[in-house]
């Protein structure tokens, strides 16, 4: 699913006294099979931007193309219904959306709405539960009896069961302990790699996660995209990130301090790789 925004802008409550311009002049181009991160401080417009991708918001300026569908200002939300099948969305604290009597029924909500048959739905529920690491024995329990971490998994399974091609993740790991956080992000990585056309768009404040789990970053500030590129490209300019009230990952911070020229390269932003780079710099540079 190709996603392309051209000069997209959105104003909340347009034409009312409470009018608020949330994003403007946005250009993005997301090919199938991408791992994207959108980073930015509170209120910079990240959620507003990504809610356009499945038609929850209709732009008030510019255009947005999602696959075959082109969305223009003034279009009715109703005609964009089908986008929700191909673009799934995990909201922040998704466990707050659970409502069914059993875990199974809750996960089945999306496939049912999207018209999957009974057998197909059951199969999707089983597979989604497996993907997020929920034990089959939990399917008949009430979601409200589960622990916080398990509830989060149920909610995510509920989105995966809709079989999206693109997954939008709005701070999916907030509030989890470090191991839980890593496991959650690894899970999305695995999901993405299962099919060559699957993409995800991770919305986060966590620069380490953005560095590790995305191949391309969009940096937002005050409703605009102020930087974009691969993590390595974006982290070349810590000063500009600071202007957007963001940090660089610790690995980049330390390496920049030691080697002002910025001639280092990182792929995983993990400690072992950083140590390799530091060792290389200390031994007098040497070929990359």
């Amino acid at each position: 699913m190709q996603i392309k925004a051209q000069n997209l802008g959105f104003t909340y409550g347009e034409g009312t006294p409470f009018e608020k311009k949330a994003v403007s002049g946005i250009d993005v181009d997301i090919p199938p099979g991408s791992r994207i991160a959108v980073v930015g401080h509170t209120g910079s417009g990240k959620s507003t931007l990504v809610q356009h991708l499945n038609g929850l918001l209709v732009p008030t300026e510019g255009t947005l193309t999602v696959g075959e569908t082109t969305i223009r200002p003034g279009m009715k939300q109703k005609v964009l219904h089908h986008l929700r099948r191909t673009v799934g969305m995990v909201f922040q604290y998704p466990e707050h959306q659970l409502f069914e009597e059993t875990v199974e029924k809750d996960i089945a909500f999306a496939p049912n709405n999207f018209g999957a048959g009974e057998k197909e739905t059951a199969e999707r529920v089983r597979r989604a539960a497996e993907a997020v690491g929920l034990d089959e024995s939990l399917l008949s329990r009430s979601p409200f009896e589960l622990s916080g971490g398990q509830m989060r998994r149920v909610a995510i399974a509920g989105v995966l069961a809709g079989h999206p091609d693109v997954l939008i993740l709005d701070e999916p790991a907030a509030g989890l302990d470090p191991k839980g956080r890593r496991a959650m992000m690894e899970m999305f990585s695995r999901w993405q790699q299962e099919q060559p056309f699957r993409s995800y768009i991770l919305v986060t404040h966590h620069m380490e996660d953005a560095a590790k789990y995305a191949d391309y970053l969009y940096v937002m500030n005050a409703g605009s995209i102020v930087m974009e590129g691969t993590p390595a490209e974006v982290f070349q300019s810590p000063a500009r990130l600071k202007e957007a009230r963001l940090d660089v990952p610790a690995a980049v911070r330390i390496l920049t301090e030691i080697d002002g020229s910025g001639s280092f390269s990182l792929n995983t932003y993990e400690a072992d790789e950083t140590a390799d780079e530091i060792a290389r710099i200390l031994r007098g540079g040497g070929p990359l």
Binding site: T16, P17, Q51, N54, L56, K78, H81, R84, R85, G88, M89, F91, P94, H96, Q97, L98, F99, F109, A110, N112, N113, F114, F144, G158, V159, G162
Partner: protein, 264 residues
């Protein structure tokens, strides 16, 4: 909802803004009482004059009020017509075949509508010049003497103030849940009535659960900050009843006397 200003607050520093909210509330109540003395339209003139005078003192642009009263005015005209047609006494003014209009009806309708309109104007003036928290505070204090009779004045006022604080939060919560369910293919806007009501379950269940969680967390946070009921509590907001507040109430009574004199 631009045309509805009852309930909104406009920042300002006029005499009316600075009045003791208790005096404003009491004044409104007195005003309501004295208007009942009027039994013909002419008798409402002093009340109208008083209302104009008070409004001018708020220094809020007249246009703002006029625009905001549109909705109320339509309602009042409707009630006037209704009342007029319901009363069938006195001489017939206009002998329409199905709906004869009586003199008494016009008079009664006009008094009724006039009272209601003036009351709404004054209530609007009250909310335009008083923050919600001042209002709840004033209510709490005015009802305090009733606490001995078992009226939970403090608890009611606190509940109101918490409700005020959480209404915007609940709205954004509702919007969020709605979007989350729409992303999972839920639709809130099509299908039969039964279907639409059923579609509300995925919205209402999480909303209620979340509200309970919020209430519990808030209760814990309040307790942690030493909240233990009204006993021994002092207040941050001090209200001072000045001589001028009493004078305003006196003016309302004076208006009442004028109305009484103009009774037919």
């Amino acid at each position: 909802m631009r045309s509805m200003i009852l309930g909104q607050y406009v920042q300002g520093d006029s005499f009316i803004h600075r009045m003791d909210p208790r005096a404003k509330l009491t004044g409104l109540f007195l005003f309501l009482l004295v208007m009942f003395l009027a039994n013909r339209p002419a008798a409402l003139i002093p009340a109208a004059a008083f209302a104009c005078f008070v409004f001018l003192m708020t220094r809020i642009p007249v246009r703002y009020l006029l625009k905001g009263l549109k909705f109320i005015a339509i309602m009042v005209i409707f009630l006037f017509l209704f009342r007029m047609l319901m009363t069938r006494e006195g001489t017939v003014l206009l002998d329409l075949p199905w709906l004869p209009i009586y003199e008494e009806g016009v008079r009664d309708g006009a008094v009724f509508a006039g009272r209601l309109f003036l009351l709404m104007v004054m209530a609007t003036v009250l909310t335009l010049t008083t923050t919600p928290i001042e209002l709840t505070d004033a209510l709490e204090r005015l009802f305090k003497p009733l606490q001995r009779l078992g009226v939970p004045a403090h608890e009611l006022a606190l509940t109101m103030s918490i409700a005020l604080r959480f209404i915007p939060t609940l709205f954004s919560e509702m919007e969020k849940i709605m979007k989350a369910q729409m992303a999972r293919g839920a639709s809130f806007s099509d299908g039969s009535i039964v279907k639409r009501i059923k579609a509300l379950i995925p919205l209402l269940v999480p909303l209620i659960i979340q509200s309970f969680r919020r209430a519990e967390e808030l209760a814990v946070a309040m307790e942690a900050r030493g909240y233990a009921g009204s006993e021994g509590r002092t207040r941050f907001r001090q209200m001072v009843w000045r001589a001028s507040d009493t004078r305003v109430l006196f003016t309302v009574v004076l208006t009442g006397i004028c109305i009484f004199a103009l009774r037919g």
